[in-house]
């Protein structure tokens, strides 16, 4: 287990550094890292500190939040298909952000954007849990989630189409697919506190999720407060997903792919899957963000394109397997 932790930490550190030295401005790796740490005059420290550093920080932290939320939802719902993007939580978070920005609240205080995204994500998770927890089963969760995701996407598109600004409708792609392009330290400051609260709430559910693998009655018998656990999952997911979605749009599939890849390495223990999925999510999103900059540097390719190309085949494979095994 410590070997896995060490390997994942090294991977995240390597990808974080690679993210810092990737970009359209031709800056040598050594020159860039020196300017990042020591500062100095000229444009290089500005590019490193104001453009690439916030981008790398957001890639790592948003990825960590998505991976963690995916692992926690899957553990709590005991359903390997639960994922913030697929079940509409990311969608309701971005709807909250879109409403705050285009309704004018964010002009009053920038904090309104993450706050509204958090509320959107929280309502989304709570609604899904009331629909799908308990006897509903995996199919119920996925169907309700897809409906919620479509509704949130349609409402976001409606708000953006009604904007008096002719460029607002172009934003639909950003909110649906997500991007880390041209974010600043302000965005880090807005997203990070909410995400950190979410991580704490989710990481501390480990013991309860381990007990829950034995069933709800057994878990209750072992002293797990199920009502409290439920609130921790709802609020933690809302904060971890909402904070990121407010500044980077809706990035899908990270929460599905990462726990699935790491589950065999963690002995299928939900508690171990939580922290490893956080690290794995950070690595995956950093890698995806490097990929969008290396493959089409001048195109502002959206992150969701890359994560969906990785995630959809995996999702279909899992659905096929679920059906073979008697299914949802």
């Amino acid at each position: 287990m410590t070997r896995l932790a060490a390997a994942l930490i090294v991977l995240v550190a390597a990808l974080f550094s690679a993210s810092l030295v990737t970009g359209p401005a031709s800056i040598g790796a050594a020159e860039g890292l020196r300017a990042l740490i020591l500062g100095g005059d000229g444009p290089v420290p500005m590019v490193m500190r104001e453009i690439r550093l916030p981008r790398a920080i957001l890639g790592a932290t948003i990825g960590a939040g998505l991976g963690l939320a995916g692992a926690a939802l899957q553990g709590y719902l005991r359903n390997p298909l639960a994922e913030p993007g697929l079940i509409g939580v990311t969608g309701t978070a971005t709807l909250g952000a879109v409403l705050a920005i285009h309704g004018g609240l964010s002009a009053l205080t920038p904090l309104a954007t993450p706050a509204a995204a958090l509320i959107g994500a929280g309502l989304g998770v709570a609604l899904l849990m009331s629909l799908a927890a308990g006897q509903g089963g995996a199919l119920m969760l996925i169907l309700a989630g897809i409906a919620l995701a479509q509704l949130a996407a349609a409402l976001s598109a409606l708000v953006l189409n009604l904007s008096p600004n002719p460029y607002a409708a172009q934003e639909i792609v950003f909110w649906m697919m997500g991007s880390l392009a041209d974010r600043s330290m302000l965005h880090v400051a807005l997203a990070l506190p909410a995400m950190a609260v979410g991580w704490v709430l989710l990481l501390t559910t480990g013991r309860a999720l381990d007990a829950l693998t034995l069933g709800e009655d057994a878990a209750a018998g072992m002293g797990v407060n199920l009502a409290r656990l439920r609130w921790q999952i709802v609020l933690g997911t809302a904060a971890a997903v909402g904070g990121g979605a407010a500044v980077a749009g809706g990035i899908g599939f990270v929460g599905l792919v990462v726990p699935h890849l790491l589950r065999p390495l963690t002995g299928a223990r939900p508690a171990a899957l939580l922290w490893s999925s956080a690290l794995g999510g950070a690595a995956l999103l950093l890698a995806a963000d490097i990929a969008v900059r290396v493959t089409f540097p001048e195109r502002d390719l959206k992150l969701g394109v890359v994560t969906a190309l990785i995630g959809v085949p995996l999702f279909l494979h899992m659905l096929a397997r679920a059906r073979r095994e008697g299914g949802p």
Binding site: G23, P24, A25, I27, G42, P43, V44, M46, V47, E50, I51, R52, I101, H102, S106, A107, S163, P164, N165, P166, Y167, A168, Q170, E171, F174, D182, S184, M185, L186, E298, D300
Partner: protein, 278 residues
Amino acid sequence: MSGFRRISEAVLAGVLALVAPAAAEPPERVVSMNLCTDQLALMLAAPGQLVSVTAFAQDPRQSAMAAEAAALPANHARAEEVYALAPDLVLASDFTAPATLAMLRRLGIAVETFPAATSLDDVAAAIRKMGSALGREAEAEAMAARFETDVAALRADAAAAPRHPRALLYEANGYAQGSDTLAGEILAAAGFANAADEVGLAAGGMLSLEQLAMLAPEAVILPEPPPGTARGYELLAHPVVQALGAQAVPQSDRDWTCATPHVLRAAARLAEARRKLP
């Protein structure tokens, strides 16, 4: 039903062709369905000749002739409403939806399209083309000649400037206009060197924030944001743009986008900004 419609359309087209004036006669009912042709037509048309312009032309944010346009009924560049105005000439841009223009032509209406201007020479050409489309050649020739004299004077003034500061035309979503564009020619006529050319964007293109920081131009000419917010404009408020130390010169779209003599106002304001630079 569709056979009936086809026949009725053909009859209608035939009737329209009969009643339409011969080509030599100036058109009597002209409808413009593009912001740029709106403004040129407003400048050149005879009284009563122009019967409708687009709603964009009435928006003071986008149009330099909003007051004049407000006196006419507005259209929204839809075939049905344009047809209902019974025009004998429709003015449009090369970028107007082809399906709309094809339908108007099928209904027997003469359509004249204007290319988007990419240079100051194109502006003079557009003025003359509008003159011949409206049968107002003399007025157009006078306006074009005056425009050419003004451009020459502006360019002479720019050539005499002690130095040509490096500037960048930076628009929503990080689009930079190079020197081979109308905006780029306006910038050059105002005495600036275009920094976008240094990275191979003479024809215009996306310039990332990183490249902008590395170019470090002395002046950044930014658009005046339209009402409402959009992520495309958020970029222009990024700390890097603010920290460049470059002079930000906000510009309203209305004097820039269209091939009309109003582009000279934009150039004059830019030249003024250049003279204020240290």
